[in-house]
Symmetry: C2
Subunit: 147 residues, 2 copies
Amino acid sequence: MSAWDSLTYFPNWQIMNKKFSTEQLAFSAEGLIPAIAQDALSGEVLMMAWMNKEAVEETLSKGQVCYWSRSRQSLWRKGESSGQTQKLVAFRYDCDADTILLKVEQQGVACHTGRRSCFYNQVDNGEVAELLPIETAPSVLYKKKEK
Amino acid sequence: MSAWDSLTYFPNWQIMNKKFSTEQLAFSAEGLIPAIAQDALSGEVLMMAWMNKEAVEETLSKGQVCYWSRSRQSLWRKGESSGQTQKLVAFRYDCDADTILLKVEQQGVACHTGRRSCFYNQVDNGEVAELLPIETAPSVLYKKKEK
């Protein structure tokens, strides 16, 4: 990982001589922290999901993004069933250490609906607009699961 | 609002003939929904905060971003005390309608530490790096409050 991304250069970047551990993150009462995934190349915000301590550690050690699925109550290795994996480019967290920002290389589409990003709904003058088309049908994305 | 931003063009954009109401959003048990603020021009992710129904409605009607402060338990009109306001450029929400993405024009700095973005900590090979310098001292940002 390096101190720039495709959108921004950080001339004042400095190592703080501080080891990172998950103890420094502010997890919720349920042991979770929100993680925003952003396309490292285009800057498009792709999705938001949750991580627990184990998901943070696995993401950092393997370099592939792993969330915590609140509905399944298990680790969610992004792309495990769909093939739409996220390779970690940079791992950041905010001033209060209660939100994570992941810069990722997205394989295929990020959204389970088959769209590039989950944020395809826009409110325009009180009406809903859809910004993004379905690029890959969910039946294709999840064909392995359906067998 | 229009169907493009500085980073992405949406050729397949379409109005869905569906009126928007906050009933369509999936608020948490506490009546809150996370909102990501992204610089409309640079694509930089600036911060993540929470909104309740009233904050969503005010943001859409006034065109200035208003959050819900969990610590103060009150509406948080961003920039009210610091002057660092966020003008709404686009209001989006995700596939599950449980996260909001705001494209904003940020006045000054987004972070209460005086940095452009709240996401200035990066984990690099197990160490913490700081990417962004303090642009405006908090004592200057909050001088009105301190009087």
